[in-house]
């Protein structure tokens, strides 16, 4: 039972963080596509901005790993 709850917790930790990251990157990516179409020099900055929200899913991964490896 406890193992199952831990697995659910870990799944929620990374899943919700991934959803949040995807939501953020979708909006940044679509704005970035429009920006690059008008000013191609900004492609480097846009790649950077799209990659920034990934910190959320990384922290979610860290939380999930801690739950699974250190929990119980």
């Amino acid at each position: 039972m406890e193992a199952g709850l831990m697995a659910i917790g870990a799944g929620l930790a990374i899943g919700l963080a991934a959803l949040a990251t995807g939501f953020a990157q979708a909006r940044i990516g679509s704005a970035g596509a429009g920006t690059i179409a008008e000013k191609p020099d900004l492609v480097g900055v846009i790649i950077l901005l799209v990659a920034i929200p990934e910190t959320m899913v990384i922290l979610g991964f860290a939380t999930a790993a801690m739950i699974l490896l250190l929990g119980g």
Partner: protein, 633 residues
């Protein structure tokens, strides 16, 4: 590292202006500044006189003609400077171009007509074969003209109306035949006396129906013979197109280098005129201000003296703070770091005198890439791919990317040995054992994460040390406090964590807290009024920056587990052949992801976590005015 630049001013007579610009183009070392960058002189902008403006327009027209020829003959772009063959001058080539132009245009127009015909004829023949049963004997009579009409099946009653109107107009001397063409279309053939052709044509136009234009063959022979004749024509077209292509190819081979040379020479001369408005002028002189690498200054002076003599003055201006802010940057790095310059420029060009991060990227980016990919098999395949890229791309961003990926692939092989990975867990079957630890083993996930965080902390600490060094060089106390505070805070955080996980004795707790308070205070002082509130938030942000390096572990694990899935799925399927195909496809997918994702993430770690501690950028790229022509051989 960036090259030392000298600010140069060239003052000469207007009669020597074009000769001077040509010398600068041949040398290719002067970055020309706009006259507005010389407020110390009250100069008006150099303008083209009417004769120069007319000449520039003529050059533009000739260039368009030559470029049109290059495009029509499908001559490929070559990034190398063009050179002349033998004694060719642009003027002689242009004379010959005047004769060549109508020939090539004629060949190209004939080719276009044939291609268009080969596209239309099959559809036309298919329609005519379906109309065969409708053909009327009167269609072949020389004094009769034929019309074809197509309508949707739903509007077939229009054909009856048209037939009645044709009868009225021709007084019953016309013949019509109506029949289905396919499931959605009905067709009508009309044969009318030649005298009534115009009236019938106008009537059909008013009805807004699709007209089928019958070719002359249908008027002079039987429909079957006409269709056979058109079919033979269709079969002959590819051979005619091929013959025209061969002619155009021969012309292209004969003219390729001359046309490229001519285009480059015309473009050069046009750019000469485009550069002129950047210069300043007085009544009889021109004034040019620009930048040249300090070590090329003697060559510039010698070249101008040799070509212009004593009528030109070349002088350098001592560097001031204002000039340093305007100076363009020419990066100079050893071969290994040179490909990373384009990645630095992608973020922001360094300011003159600022630390160039290219060498640090050259060291750390391949290491991060290797840590994430960490597989001997993937690294080897990627290395082979980069060798192909290096043969395909001799210069430019493709070549840079190949060199960067090659370094990353090398580190991927090294980390593959450390983690004991060959296409995931396949290495186990050939006796491969990890030298460090097995990433795929869940017992070592914490070790992997600790490794990633340690590397991240070291990387950020290096960035802060570089930032401190820059702050000291620039005598920037504010930056010194900020970066010093962050560095002290980082050390304190790691001491704290060390104590909490029992890696360090408990006695380190007090110094750790003290250091944290010192670091936060320094940071708060550097941030000014709101520093008391913002500084602790910035310290938490610093923790986030370190944890961001966990992506090295996360992406590495995803690569391992995808490889594991590829191997397991191959084993589950009953057939060896199908299993191998599945494994190859999944490993190929993993390789593509493994090349793309670690590159982007390593780049992101540098741009966000590393650069923010010491790098500002915002500089100008050194872009010297340069001729497109190489020296005559």
């Amino acid at each position: 590292m960036s090259q030392q630049m000298s600010h140069v001013q060239i003052i000469g007579l207007k009669t020597d202006l074009l000769a001077t610009i040509r010398v600068l183009g041949a040398l290719g070392c002067v970055h020309i500044d706009d006259v507005d960058a010389m407020p110390e002189f009250s100069l008006s902008r150099l303008t083209l006189d009417p004769a120069m403006a007319r000449h520039a327009d003529e050059l533009n027209l000739r260039l368009l003609q030559v470029k049109g020829l290059i495009e029509t003959l499908d001559i490929s772009e070559d990034q190398r400077p063009a050179h002349a063959n033998g004694e060719d001058s642009p003027e002689r080539v242009l004379e010959a171009v005047d004769n060549l132009l109508p020939v090539v245009q004629g060949l190209a127009a004939r080719r276009d007509r044939l291609v268009s015909e080969s596209g239309l004829l099959p559809r036309f023949l298919s329609t005519m074969r379906k109309l065969l049963p409708l053909f009327l004997s009167t269609v072949r009579e020389p004094d009769h003209v034929s019309f074809g009409v197509l309508v949707n099946r739903g509007q077939a009653e229009v054909l009856d109306i048209i037939a009645a109107q044709v009868d009225d107009v021709t007084g019953g001397r016309a013949e019509t035949a109506i029949g289905p063409l396919d499931a959605t279309t009905s067709a009508m053939l009309i044969a009318v006396p030649r005298a009534a052709a115009d009236a019938i044509g106008a009537m059909l136009d008013r009805h807004d129906v699709s007209r089928l234009r019958l070719p002359p063959e249908f008027d002079s022979s039987s429909p079957e013979a006409a269709i056979a004749s058109l079919s033979r024509r269709l079969e002959a077209i590819p051979a005619e197109i091929a013959a025209l292509d061969r002619q155009l190819q021969e012309i292209a081979e004969q003219w390729s280098s001359r046309l490229r040379y001519c285009a480059a020479a015309l473009q050069d001369e046009l750019e000469t005129y485009q550069v002129l408005p950047q210069l300043g002028q007085t009544e009889t002189t021109f004034v040019l201000a620009g930048w040249v690498p300090a070590r090329q200054m003697p060559a510039l002076q010698a070249a101008l003296e040799s070509e212009i003599g004593e009528r030109i003055l070349v002088s350098t201006t001592p560097m001031t703070e204002e000039l340093e802010r305007r100076a363009p940057v020419a990066l100079e790095n050893p071969g290994v770091a040179r490909p990373f310059e384009s990645l630095v420029h992608l973020y922001s060009t360094p300011r003159y005198g600022e630390l160039d991060p290219s060498r640090f990227m050259a060291l750390f980016m391949p290491i991060f890439f290797g840590m994430m990919l960490g597989d001997i098999g993937y690294g080897a395949l990627l290395l082979v791919f980069t060798l192909w890229m290096r043969r395909r791309f001799k210069r430019g961003i493709g070549r840079d990317l190949a060199n960067i990926l090659a370094l990353g692939a090398g580190w991927a092989i090294i980390f593959g040995l450390l983690f004991g990975e060959l296409f995931g867990t396949l290495g186990e079957s050939v006796g491969l054992r990890p030298l460090l630890f097995d990433r795929a083993d869940s017992d070592h996930v914490i070790d992997l994460m600790a490794l990633a965080i340690s590397v991240g902390a070291a990387h950020i600490a290096l960035g802060l040390l570089l930032g401190l060094w820059e702050a000291i060089r620039q005598h920037n106390r504010h930056a010194l406090m900020e970066r010093g505070g962050r560095l002290v805070g980082l050390i304190a955080l790691f001491l704290l964590v060390g104590v909490l996980v029992d890696l360090l004795p408990a006695g380190f707790m007090t110094p750790a807290i003290a250091l944290l308070i010192v670091g936060t205070s320094l940071l708060a002082w550097s941030l000014g009024g709101t520093g008391v509130i913002v500084a602790p938030i910035e310290m938490i942000g610093l923790v986030g920056n370190v944890l961001s390096y966990l992506r090295i572990a996360a992406i590495g694990l995803s690569s391992v587990y995808l490889a594991l899935v590829a191997n397991e799925m191959a084993g589950i399927v009953g057939s060896v052949v199908v299993g191998v195909i599945i494994a190859v496809l999944l490993h190929a997918l993993n390789l593509v992801l493994g090349a793309f994702s670690p590159t982007i993430q390593s780049l992101r770690l540098h741009y966000v976590e590393f650069f923010r501690n010491f790098y500002e950028g915002g500089g100008r790229l050194y872009a010297p005015y340069r001729s497109r022509l190489s020296p005559r051989e």
